[in-house]
């Protein structure tokens, strides 16, 4: 096998740029994809280092006792985006909330991708009763009215499970319900790829099933999955915001959805508590959506010039 690899390498160099290099060039030329990458990078930076810029601790009711509750934005520069009735500083809270939303978005997606890849790979690579059953389960999951089930799940979990778990509950719930798209696409891609010549070549060279699946097929499946994962992060953040906004989330952890829920209570008088966290959500979700769209353009060989 190593002989074949070393023989193939100089040949590849003659052919010019590798797959990844071509994709990177296409990605770089796509302005909106770059914008998406920059936004996502900024979002990750804020999630990790935002706590150092935040003037007040997470869920701190500082202003309630210090006479600065319900301040409008851009008036007092100690509270640039204003404060809530309850005395929470909106700017600090947005910075603290970033980590929660990133955690939910990314970790739930990771769970979904892991589950979806395994189920999709099995359903695509093998044939028979088990894979037919997996396909059936995937299709059933597609049709479920997922959000109401997630909401009920979150509400019951709120009561039964210790509050200390916080966002992890939501992460697990979203992860459990997010895998069907990944599984479906993985299965389709594997059905297509496993008949291609390079897989047959590997098989005739005596490669084992698992080697073919992991080294040859899964690597090729990854590009549509990366695209889907990016869009799924966006979707998960939106769902987390809805769960928290409706009051089914974790009441002690800073998230943008929780801030929006509190803002809605006083929306008639304190519009700023609703406006600014919403903008934060839109920017973060937009970043992942732009990134996903851009990756999809860059990685799709069918529309390559």
């Amino acid at each position: 096998m190593s002989d074949a690899n070393s023989a193939a390498k100089p040949k590849q160099k003659q052919r010019g740029a590798s797959q990844a290099a071509v994709a990177w060039r296409r990605f770089r030329r796509n302005k909106s994809a770059l914008a998406g990458a920059v936004i996502v990078g900024f979002f990750i930076f804020i999630s990790i280092y935002g706590i150092f810029f935040a003037p007040y601790p997470s869920r701190s009711y500082y202003c309630l006792t210090n006479g600065c509750a319900n301040l409008p934005p851009f008036v007092n520069w100690a509270h640039p985006l204003g404060t809530e009735y309850s005395g929470i500083d909106v700017f600090s809270e947005i910075l603290h909330g970033a980590l929660g939303d990133l955690y939910v978005g990314v970790v739930a997606t990771a769970i979904s991708v892991a589950v979806g890849l395994v189920i999709g790979a099995f359903a695509g690579y093998r044939s028979g009763a088990v894979s037919a059953m997996l396909l059936g389960i995937t299709q059933i999951f597609f049709t479920l009215p997922v959000l109401v089930i997630i909401l009920l799940f979150a509400r019951i979990a709120q009561i039964l499970v210790a509050q200390g778990l916080g966002l992890t509950l939501i992460v697990v719930i979203l992860g459990i319900f997010g895998w069907p798209t990944i599984a479906f696409v993985t299965r389709g891609e594997i059905l297509r790829i496993k008949e291609l010549e390079f897989v047959q070549a590997a098989r005739s060279l005596g490669a084992s099933n698992s080697r073919i699946l992991f080294r040859h097929i899964l690597l090729n499946v990854m590009s549509p999955i990366i695209v889907l994962a990016s869009l799924l992060v966006a979707g998960n953040i939106l769902t987390e915001v809805v769960i928290s906004f409706l009051g089914f989330g974790s009441p002690n952890t800073s998230t943008w959805g929780l801030l929006l829920q509190e803002g809605f209570l006083y929306v008639r008088t304190s519009w700023w508590v609703s406006l600014f966290p919403g903008i934060a959500v839109v920017v973060a979700v937009l970043g992942f959506n732009l990134l996903g769209d851009g990756l999809s353009d860059a990685l799709n060989p069918r529309i390559r010039e």
């Binding site: 909106s32 059936g136 299709q139 059933i140 597609f142 049709t143 479920l144 009215p145 997922v146 959000l147 109401v148 089930i149 909401l151 009920l152 799940f153 509400r155 019951i156 009561i159 039964l160 966006a234 939106l238 915001v241 809805v242 906004f245 409706l246 009051g247 089914f248 929006l260 803002g263 809605f264 929306v267 008639r268 519009w271 609703s274 406006l275 919403g278 959500v281 839109v282 979700v285 937009l286 959506n289 732009l290 769209d293």
Partner: protein, 323 residues
């Protein structure tokens, strides 16, 4: 025709496992603590002994879990949705909720199709033009915003800052009516939530139409049509759109569930008395019989939408009818 019937029956049969899956999931979640009565007692401190007794009867808590499930399912299938913990029979209350939700969802869907498809076609026809960039940018913003948040923003602007439209409810219960009459009053209440829902769906439909049109416009038969001297209008709308629209309608039909699922947050924002708002209230107050009934009804609505979509698909795409 026989094969079409066959196809529809096959698709309709698929509804059964979905229905059962939802019922099992819902039932398992509400029985996660072994006994739904425990959940209610833990969550709602002010619950009375009479309410708990009623709940025990509804769930048959003296039986083991798997027996309870069949009691509940057979009750549901016979139209006995149980008693709400707070306000009488669930079945009598759920029907107006369905109506109010559809009053919002169906016009939004039709409007969104009517607006989104032409915009998507325009965008695809003028790919990489300024108009196309504007449209795709607006559309990606549209799918990145939480639906309910757009609603809150519109309420702040058009209801509080400019007192033009009502901020909550589907109608005024008593005079003074908005714009003078009860009918116009209902319209006034509909405008804001309907605009939000339409806006978000237009974004999705525009993106879908654009992608599918781009794919179709590249194909040979479009070139052949142009070469044989058909007008650009005819090529676009008669030949290309006809093929591009099938996947759009399919996805829209199948994602009716997602639309409905977006309802809880949006309906709560506008206090719109539909299924979604009722669901949120019932889940917050742990009114489990109501919650279960709403989830099952939403599932039935989604399944009905899917079967209608399959029918439309068989109609639009002759290949389905042949095989």
């Amino acid at each position: 025709m026989g094969s079409l019937l066959n196809y529809v029956i096959r698709r309709a049969l698929f509804a059964i496992p979905v229905f059962l899956a939802v019922s099992i999931l819902t039932f398992l979640i509400t029985n996660a603590a072994g006994d739904p009565v425990n959940i209610v007692r833990l969550g709602i401190r002010s619950i009375t002994a009479a309410q708990l007794e009623q709940l025990r009867l509804f769930f048959h808590t003296n039986e083991p879990v798997y027996i309870r499930y069949f009691y509940w399912l057979s009750d549901f299938l016979r139209g006995n949705l149980g008693q709400s913990l707070y306000t009488g029979s669930v079945a009598s209350r759920i029907i107006p909720w369905i109506g109010t939700t559809l009053e919002l969802q169906i016009p939004a869907l039709l409007l969104a199709l009517g607006i989104g498809i032409p915009i998507g076609v325009y965008s695809a026809k003028h790919q990489y033009s300024k108009g196309d960039y504007t449209i795709t940018t607006a559309a990606i913003f549209g799918i990145s915003m939480p639906t309910f948040w757009i609603g809150i923003m519109l309420i702040i602007v058009f209801s509080y800052y400019l007192p033009w439209l009502p901020a909550y409810g589907a109608y005024s219960a008593y005079p003074p009516y908005w714009w003078g009459s009860p009918f116009l009053d209902a319209i006034a209440h509909l405008i804001l939530p309907l605009s939000v829902l339409t806006l978000v769906s237009v974004a999705t439909i525009t993106r879908l139409t654009r992608v599918n049109m781009l794919e179709v416009l590249r194909q040979d038969y479009i070139l052949a049509g142009r070469a044989s001297g058909l007008s650009e209008w005819k090529v676009t709308y008669k030949h290309a759109l006809k093929n591009a629209i099938t996947p759009v309608l399919t996805i829209v039909g199948l994602s009716f569930g997602t639309l409905l699922a977006g309802a809880p947050a949006l309906e709560t924002t506008f206090s719109w008395p539909g299924l979604g708002f009722a669901f949120v209230r019932a889940a917050s107050t742990l009114d489990l019989p109501t919650v279960q009934a709403i989830i099952m009804i939403i599932t039935l609505m989604v399944l009905a939408a899917n079967i209608l979509t399959d029918l439309a698909y068989a109609f639009l795409d002759p290949r389905v009818r042949i095989t």
